[in-house]
């Protein structure tokens, strides 16, 4: 018996030793270090976001008053200056983008998803063009707008709608890509059922596919609007003027400015008061974007839960 117990003890000891070794192997120093470095990478981004938001809030807070939204910009009395013309200009521009980019983008997406034969080279070429367009620098769209929309052949002059059309071209790929995804997510059984009941192709698309894809299209549209609303560089080229002390008369007449352009003009001035105004403007713009993005994220979450 004692014989056996010695054997057992040895065996138990051996198992304990090996498990101890295994546990030791479990503390993987290099692995933990690697994990820490990865965490640092993501913290860097989040920390920068926090710093940026905190800084803009801290600097802009003193001027975040009603005057900012109701007054004209001024270079004399900076304590009550506002950017009302820029707000009105941005509203005109965004309305113009909305009414042009949605029909164009959704139509293009419908063609590519419902009608295009992907075996054909021209359809594949269109896809490459869209992908490439999505990564063209925004200032190049400004040059295009200047050459073709502000001047001949469209010759609109430096008006808000010229800015709208320029931004429409800029965000068109985003809307197309998002709409395509939404259209693709509509179950094909819906289409088959509709066709089997005798509906034509277009009737199927119009009464089944488009209603099913609306939430996705809406999300994509809001996200592209939130990109367009913050674009500065192309608007600088298509005549969003630097110092507007009157409201734009309409989308097709009169000079205009936009919120990001107004902020830009405040940033380039070295005086402290302009910096504060710029910070307040940034804060307004960021809050506006956060609102738009959270609506889009909420819509997406709701949409994905339902399907």
């Amino acid at each position: 018996m004692s014989h056996q117990s010695v054997r057992t003890r040895t065996a138990v000891q051996a198992v304990r030793d090996s498990s101890l070794r295994l546990e030791k192997r479990g503390v993987d120093v290099a692995g933990e270090l690697f994990r820490a470095v990865l965490l640092l990478c993501i913290v860097l981004g989040v920390l920068m976001l926090a710093t940026l938001l905190a800084y803009v809030t801290w600097r802009g807070w003193p001027r975040l008053d009603l005057n900012l939204f109701t007054q004209m910009p001024s270079s004399i009395d900076l304590t009550t200056a506002g950017f009302l013309p820029a707000i009105v200009g941005t509203i005109w521009i965004m309305l113009g983008v909305l009414v042009t980019v949605v029909p164009l983008g959704v139509s293009a997406a419908l063609y590519l998803e419902e009608y295009a034969d992907t075996e054909r080279w021209w359809n594949r070429a269109i896809e490459v063009f869209i992908q490439n367009l999505a990564a063209v620098p925004s200032i190049v769209f400004g040059i295009l707008g200047l050459a073709f929309i502000v001047r001949a052949p469209l010759a609109l002059g430096p008006v808000a709608f010229a800015g709208s059309l320029t931004l429409t071209m800029l965000v068109l790929p985003t809307v197309i890509i998002a709409s395509r995804e939404a259209i693709r997510a509509v179950p094909s059984t819906l289409r088959q059922a509709s066709m089997a009941l005798g509906a034509s192709k277009w009737q199927t698309v119009w009464r089944q596919v488009i209603p099913g894809a609306v939430p996705g299209i809406l999300t994509g549209t809001i996200l592209s609007m939130s990109r367009a609303i913050g674009e500065t560089a192309p608007l600088l080229l298509v005549g969003a003027t630097t110092f507007v002390q009157f409201l734009p008369e309409g989308p097709l007449e009169g000079r205009y400015t936009a919120i990001p352009v107004q902020i830009f003009q405040w940033v380039v001035r070295p005086q402290e008061e302009f910096r504060v105004l710029a910070a307040a403007g940034c804060l307004v713009l960021v809050v506006l974007l956060l609102l738009m993005n959270s609506v889009a994220i909420w819509l997406r979450a709701r949409f994905s839960r339902e399907s």
């Binding site: 139509s107 063609y111 490459v128 063009f129 367009l133 063209v136 190049v140 040059i143 380039v268």
Partner: protein, 318 residues
Amino acid sequence: MASSTADSPAGLSLEPQSRRVGEKAIVAWLFLAALAAVLITIAIVVALLEPAAEFFRFVSVTEFFSTARWTPTQADPEFGVLRLLAGTGAAVLYSCIIALPAGLGAAIYMNEYASFRVRQVLKPLLEILEGIPTVVYGFFAVAFVAPLMKDNWWTWLPGQLGEEPGTQFILAAGVVLGIMIIPTVASVSQDAMAAIPRGLREAAYGLGSTRMQVATRVVVPGALSGIVASFVLGLSRAIGETIVVLLAAGAMANLSILPNDPVFTMTAFIGRTSTGEIAYGTTTYYSIFAVGALLFVVTLVVNLISIALVRKFREVYE
């Protein structure tokens, strides 16, 4: 086939009742809308090339690429675009030093380490970071980052590196540009990593791999082409970004990669010159389009590389 059904014994025609002209018109409109992307690209090329050709009547192509100085506004203007290219290169270099490792690290963490809940928080945060307008980043760079760096400059560094910079310098623009493109790199990389089949990961764990080994030896090599594509995409965004470099990098066409020197980038030149009072039809006016054409070609090449890489990585696991 249509005639055979019409002649079928039941006399049933499967042909549409009408010729559906309206439906054909709709398809034609949809096709035209899809064609808009092509038309816009052609319009860009025409809008750039026509005035650029005008520019090259005054300044020859060889002069454009071989002159050492870029002084378009001086009495005896010189147009050596290499200075602007070098300026863009310098700003992009610093931004990539920050954004590529940080973006890749963030992607690995989100895909391999973060729990579902943590990811639910991190992803929208990165999306917000991506959605912040460039003019806000530009303000942040010029009002916060640049003064902070200037006041705490590493003056113990030897030679020119130790000199305190002015109000505009490469590093301030590069760092903010880098932060700006972290989300782009992270989200595209993570998409590529998410496409790696679960089985590969589980096989590696089954053979006793640690998390780090799975990440560095299975996931990263498997998603390599997608990761490279994300790098290229980030690069192209950094090249094309205007407002941050316009505000923070300066307007001196230096040939320098020292972090405390100001440089003038291609986009900053276009932005600055086209908003100033430039007489229509002068050589300087046309130079905007020549630089724009060069910028378009550079980003086009970079984008096509990225598109090709993404295609390649899609083919591997589908």
